[in-house]
Subunit: 215 residues, 2 copies
Amino acid sequence: MSEITVAQAVLAQNEARAAALNARFAARGIFAVNVMGAPGIGKTSVIEGLCRQLTCPCAVIEGDIQSELDTLRLKGCGISAHQINTGGACHLETPLIEAAAEALAPADHSVLFIENIGNLVCPAEFMIGEHVKLLICAVTDGSDKPYKYPLAFEKADLIVLNKCDLLPYVDFDEAFFLRGVRALNPDAPVLKTAARAGEGLEEVARWLSGAMSAL
Amino acid sequence: MSEITVAQAVLAQNEARAAALNARFAARGIFAVNVMGAPGIGKTSVIEGLCRQLTCPCAVIEGDIQSELDTLRLKGCGISAHQINTGGACHLETPLIEAAAEALAPADHSVLFIENIGNLVCPAEFMIGEHVKLLICAVTDGSDKPYKYPLAFEKADLIVLNKCDLLPYVDFDEAFFLRGVRALNPDAPVLKTAARAGEGLEEVARWLSGAMSAL
C-alpha cells in the first residue's frame, strides 16, 4: 500500500509542477512540444527538420539516459540545444525541464522541443509542462504498435509516421495501424514523413504553427 | 527517502524471487531466456525462428502491455505460448512469470523464451528467473543505441542485431555500434540476423544450445 501511496503523491506533485511550468511558458509565448517515441524511430531527425521549417525561433531540450550525441548533432546544425542525462530514469519529469529551460533560455515566442527518453511506455504517463504531445512512430517498427502501447497513442495530439521512405522494404499494414490509432484517439492527425530525406515535414510544421497560434 | 526505501525493498524482494524461480527452472532442465529489446525490433520474429531451429521443445511467455497479437501469431505457428498483459507496467517481474509458467507448463529439458515488454530501458533492471538475457537490436534503429541505453547492453549475455536485410537502405555504422557495445560488454557475442527472412538464426540457436548444455 505504501508503494502506491508514494507513487500517487509523486505523480500529483509532478502534475502540479508541470501545470505551473506550462503556464510560465505560455505567458512568454513559448510553445512546448513533448516529443515522444520508441528508441531509434527518428525523433531527433524530425526535430532537426522542423527547426528548419519553422519560421519562429526554436530550441531543443534533449533527454537521454546517457550521451550527448543528439545535442552535439543539433548544435552542429546551428540549433540551440541543451542535454539532459537522466543516468537511468526512463522518462523526463518537470524539475529536469525547469532546470534545462533555465540553462537553455529559449526566446519569447519560440517553439521549445523537448525530446523525451526513447521509450514508448513511461513518458506518456508524465506531463512535463508541454502544450502538445507529438508522438513519432516508424514504419520499420510494424503496424501493431497502437494495439500494444495504447497510452502513448491515446494521449498524443499529433502522430508522425516516420521512415516512410522505407515502406517498399518492410511489411507495414497502414490500414491496421490507423484502425488501432483511431480506436484510441479519434482526433489526432497522422502525418507521414521521411525525416532523413526531409519529406513531409512542412505539413507537421504547419500543424505546429497553427497549434502555437492558438496558445 | 521513503520512496527510495520502498523501491529498494521491492527490487530486493524481486531478486530473491527471481533467484528461486531460476533454481526451480534449472532443476527441471528448463532454460529460461529473457528476450529484451525496443518496440518493433523483431523480438517475436526472432523467437519464432529460434523455435523452428532448436531441436528441444520450446515454449514462449509473451509480455505486452495490451493485446494478444504475438501469442496468437506464435500459436498459429504451432508454438506453445502464453500471454501476459501488464495493463500498463513497462517491464515484467517475477510473480507474473511464476503464474505464466504455471499456466504454460513448459516441458522438462526445454527452452522457455520470455519476451519482455518492448522497452530498451526498464526491463534490464529486473531479473525474472532467466538463465540468460538475449538483447535484440535492429539496424533500422541506428548505431547509437549502446551509447544511449547502456544498461541493457551491459547486462546482455547475447546480442542479436536484427533486420540486417535492410542494411542497404539505412545509415547504420556497424563499427560505431560495436565500439559502443564493447565499451559496456567485452564478452557477449553479437550475431547478425534477418529474422523475417529466416537468416542468421542457426548461429543464435547454436549459442543457446551451448549455453543450455552448461545449465
